[in-house]
């Protein structure tokens, strides 16, 4: 029960000691060569009394500027993504997952404009590396919590594409039987705990899931329970109070959680730099006593490397990590967003760093796969998506009786009817004919 006795501050302050790369100008905080990452994690263990290093001073502008103006040097897209050697199987798995995410989101856009999907739809194009990089390292029992941009998180975690597509169409065969919709993907089987429409709402929920994992281990004495929770959220959320409250508690109780910030620089139309006093989100981790890591979120291999260490840390019981992934969404905030405020140059710059293209290039260069094999994967994914759309189309709409189902886990919550019996036992009620 050591987590609950952590009233004293821990002697070692894990610090995101981002030692400024020697010789490089300090205005490139968003570059993190992978070799430094291992050193980063080791520093916390080796230097217990380290003081918080001074951060590189960042030119802070008040107007909305593109992140590339803040970055000093141009990002070299030809550099080798990582020193990590991945096996062929791993590479194919990553590729397939990212292509699934991309193809699915593109199909969502098509379906939306054809009127089969409605309401709010938020697409994940461009950010696939983050989802794939983290979720493919998780076990089935590990939990994932996300925001309204959650289709791809659900897909990566293993929810079948059919179930997600049917859910988006509002059909009864969807993963939430059509009652949740685009922003609320839940699956108990795959431990996808949502899908939250509110900014910041998922973070306390994720912290609670991590807490339950710790509780199960320590109170219920289930020593084999080492489940990790990964919480995904955006840059706008990092200004929200719930975020800070949860960073504090997760570090205090050393919960097995990884906080992943998908910093795509824009919260609808609000640039991250306009909304945040200190735009470097990774620095908020050390303020609460956990490591804060910045990683290039357009590179799945770098993300995966960081994820491996962060998840291993959580599994070992060393507590939370804050990972800031610099990424970008190629489409607007949602399908109804005209996306007028983003600079086309910025969009073009990031489009050149498309994570799928980058992985493809890496795999071809390192002879991990041939062109035709990758094409075969793409074709397979296209078939999967087509099948999902057909399945969604063919599925029935929810019946009227479903309106009143699942409001409570115990349906007696609807109370006692005028005839003295529980309302839920009245056949008319369960047919959904109760009119209010």
């Amino acid at each position: 029960m050591s987590a609950f006795m952590a009233v004293k501050t821990l002697p070692s302050h894990p610090v995101a000691a981002r030692s400024t790369p020697a010789g490089k100008p300090s205005s490139s905080p968003f570059l993190a060569p992978p070799s430094r990452l291992r050193r980063l994690f080791q520093q916390q263990q080796d230097r217990p009394s380290s003081s918080i290093s001074s951060s590189p001073s960042l030119p802070r502008r008040i107007q909305a500027v593109s992140a590339a103006d803040v970055l000093g040097s141009k990002i070299d897209s030809n550099s080798s993504p990582s020193n990590v050697v991945i096996s062929r199987e791993e590479g194919m798995e990553l590729y397939e997952d990212m292509v699934l995410g991309r193809a699915f989101e593109d199909m969502c856009a098509q379906m939306y404009y054809r009127g089969k999907m409605f309401g709010f739809v938020h697409l994940y194009n461009g950010q696939e590396a983050v989802s794939t990089g983290f979720i493919k390292l998780l076990k089935r029992e590990d939990a994932v919590v996300s925001t309204y941009r959650d289709h791809v998180h659900a897909l990566s975690k293993g929810v079948p594409a059919r179930a997600v597509m049917a859910e988006l169409f509002g059909k009864t065969t969807g993963c939430c039987r059509g009652q949740g919709g685009s922003m609320h993907m839940f699956s108990a089987e795959h431990n996808v705990l949502g899908g939250f429409a509110f900014i910041g709402e998922g973070i306390p929920v994720a912290t609670g899931a991590a807490f339950s994992s710790r509780y199960r281990r320590e109170v219920l004495k289930d020593a084999s329970c080492d489940h990790v929770t990964v919480a995904f959220f955006g840059d706008g959320t990092c200004n929200n109070g719930q975020f800070f409250e949860c960073l504090n508690m997760a570090a205090l109780w050393k919960l097995p959680i990884v906080f992943v910030v998908e910093n795509n620089l824009w919260a609808i139309g609000m640039s991250h730099l306009r909304a945040t006093s200190d735009p470097e989100i990774w620095k908020k981790g050390p303020a609460f006593g956990m490591p804060g890591v910045h990683v290039d979120g357009m590179d799945v291999l770098k993300v995966r490397e960081v994820a491996q260490e962060a998840i291993a840390r959580a599994r070992r019981g060393e507590g939370p990590t804050l990972v800031e992934c610099e990424t970008y969404r190629f489409r607007g905030h949602s399908l109804a967003d005209p996306d007028e405020l983003r600079n086309p140059d910025e969009k073009a710059r990031y489009a050149a760093r498309d994570p799928i293209m980058a992985l493809k290039k890496y795999m071809l260069e390192n002879n991990l796969a041939t062109e035709s094999e990758l094409k075969a994967i793409e074709k397979k994914i296209d078939d999967v998506i087509e099948d999902a759309v057909e399945f969604g189309d063919a599925s029935p709409l929810p019946p009227r009786s479903q309106l009143l189902e699942n409001v409570f886990a115990d349906p007696k919550g609807f109370g006692i009817g005028p005839d003295g019996k529980y309302r839920c036992e009245d056949p008319g009620f369960t047919q959904g004919t109760a009119e209010v």
């Binding site: 909305a64 939306y112 404009y113 009127g115 409605f118 309401g119 709010f120 739809v121 859910e167 509002g170 059909k171 009864t172 939430c176 059509g178 009652q179 949740g180 919709g181 685009s182 922003m183 609320h184 939250f196 429409a197 509110f198 900014i199 910041g200 706008g236 959320t237 200004n239 929200n240 109070g241 719930q242 409250e245 919260a267 609808i268 139309g269 609000m270 306009r274 909304a275 945040t276 949602s334 399908l335 109804a336 967003d337 005209p338 405020l341 709409l397 929810p398 009227r400 479903q402 309106l403 009143l404 409001v407 609807f414 959904g432 009119e435 209010v436």
Partner: protein, 499 residues
């Protein structure tokens, strides 16, 4: 008990706590400062142009999506409302006629100008901001994005970033900041992206600090305190709060209730909070449970708040102006689907001193047989139901509540005493809802006049589902209102007496 006398405190313009809240006092206070509010009487008699307009609109149907420029609404959203699975309008031919009728000019002789609710809100904000430099806006995406629903379009260019503030996603924080600014004499207009977001609740610490600083300043030098509440003190740069929708309002509800609503009372009139919280409320289309709740009952429950819910453009303009000029916290519940709807407006409404009194309902349609009360989008459905019923010989009187707190019990009861039957319609959940209050008020005050049990129509007692057909079942439709009226009338109303 109301006391219309001028307050005796040293702070000019402050009402004492003993005055309490009554619509009469509110309109007097407004009247002292500005031009007297216009009393809107019931609609003008129909014109001879009516049958020609009827035929015209019968063949030309305004496209539902035309004025929907909402960024989050999406294409085809309105098109899915009111349709069954195959995409046909519900109820066949009858239903096909009704949308035309509901879009006809409501009995004005010369139509004059038409205005969408969006334009009405925008113009009201614009005029109030230019009239009073202490008014400022705060919210997510109100500035550069021109407003999440384009309500604040053009205001950033006109008034600059110091009066139209884009905030980070911190509802509780900036709501608290707005309340603090209001304590200190500014007039913030807080926008919630949805009133669901007004429920967010993290930054109590900030709110506490603001309270402490406000209290400290009150306890400070009396001279400086005397200047604080002077209406004519030049505006300081302050903060404003706003979020985009009232689902987000529950994130900030701590400040709306504890810092704003209760403040005038707790401080015995020392500090009033002239703040407006506005945003869309209730269900849109296909946005599921966390973005579709109607918070009217939540806010109308709290003493110390004024809660307004406009329907037409005239309502929107008049009530928003009244809310901004009001010295008390006002929760202004709009409706996303109504933003794009156009209503005819007279020149009186377009005048910049136009203002509607808070606490007075409007009788949208006169009738003899049954009273239907509604607010916001349900007024549209009630009017459609009244049309259907008039063909069956039942003449329904439709009351647009406009103001939920203070509730215009007088108008409702007078109407029920005339018609002897009541059906109340609302979109929110039934238990402890607005309809419950209206029905109880009528039973308490006009029991002997009732000929039938009061009927209450509300949304289904379930979180809003996502699937389109389930969503339709979860919200009252025109059929439900018609059925309830027929139940209340025992289907035995004398047919000949109508028309």
């Amino acid at each position: 008990m109301t006391n219309g006398a001028k307050p005796t405190s040293i702070f000019p313009g402050q009402r004492s706590a003993a005055q309490g809240y009554s619509s009469g006092t509110a309109s007097i206070v407004i009247g002292l400062r500005r031009a007297p509010p216009n009393q809107r009487s019931s609609s003008l008699p129909p014109s001879p142009a009516f049958p020609f307009l009827f035929l015209f609109f019968f063949f030309w149907r305004p496209r539902p999506g035309k004025d929907v420029g909402t960024r989050e609404a999406g294409v085809g959203q309105l098109a899915s409302v009111g349709k069954d699975e195959k995409g046909n309008m519900l109820g066949g031919p009858l239903r096909r006629i009704l949308p035309e009728i509901s879009r006809l000019p409501k009995g004005y002789s010369t139509v004059g100008k038409e205005m969408t609710v969006r334009e009405a809100l925008n113009s009201a904000l614009d005029e109030e901001m230019s009239a009073d430099p202490k008014v400022f806006l705060m919210g997510e995406e109100v500035g550069e994005y021109q407003g999440a629903y384009k309500i604040t379009k053009g205001l950033l260019e006109k008034y600059g970033p110091e009066r139209v503030l884009d905030t980070p996603i911190t509802e509780a924080g900036f709501t608290g900041i707005g309340v603090g600014a209001a304590y200190y004499g500014l007039h913030p207009v807080v926008e919630f992206m949805t009133f669901n977001f007004s429920m967010q609740n993290e930054s109590r610490v900030i709110g506490t600090l603001i309270l402490f600083s406000a209290a400290a300043s009150v306890l400070g030098a009396t001279v400086s305190v005397g200047c604080l509440f002077d209406e004519f003190k030049p505006a300081k740069l302050g903060k404003g709060a706003g979020s985009m929708e009232f689902d987000l309002g529950i994130v900030a509800i701590d400040h709306i209730i504890n810092s704003a609503a209760k403040m005038n009372y707790m401080s015995a009139g020392n500090i009033s909070v002239p703040i407006v919280f506005r945003g869309p409320n209730g269900a849109a289309a296909g946005v599921s449970s966390q973005h579709s709740q109607c918070y009217a009952a939540w806010y109308a429950h709290v003493p110390g708040l004024k809660v307004l819910s406009p329907y037409s453009s005239e309502d929107a303009r008049g009530l928003l102006k009244a809310a901004i000029r009001d010295p008390d916290p006002v929760v202004f519940l709009e409706n996303e689907i109504l933003y794009g709807q156009s209503f005819p407006v007279s020149d009186e409404v377009l005048d910049s001193s136009f203002c509607l009194p808070i606490g007075k309902a409007k009788i949208e349609r006169e009738g003899k047989d049954v009273t239907i009360t509604a607010f916001s989008k349900m007024v549209d459905y009630a009017l459609q139901a009244a049309e259907v019923l008039s063909k069956e010989g039942i003449s329904a009187e439709v009351i647009n509540l406009r103001s939920l707190r203070p509730l215009d019990r007088r108008t409702i009861n007078a109407s029920v005493r005339k018609t002897n039957r009541l059906v109340s319609v609302e979109e929110g959940f039934p238990q402890h809802g607005v309809g419950a209050e209206i029905c109880t008020s009528v039973i308490e005050e006009s029991f002997e006049y009732l000929d039938a049990p009061v009927e209450r129509i509300a949304g289904a007692d379930v979180p809003m589902p996502y699937a389109a057909n389930l969503e339709r079942l979860a919200v009252p439709q025109v059929d439900n209102i018609v059925n309830a009226v027929k139940r209340a009338c025992y289907r035995s109303v004398p047919m000949a007496a109508a028309a």
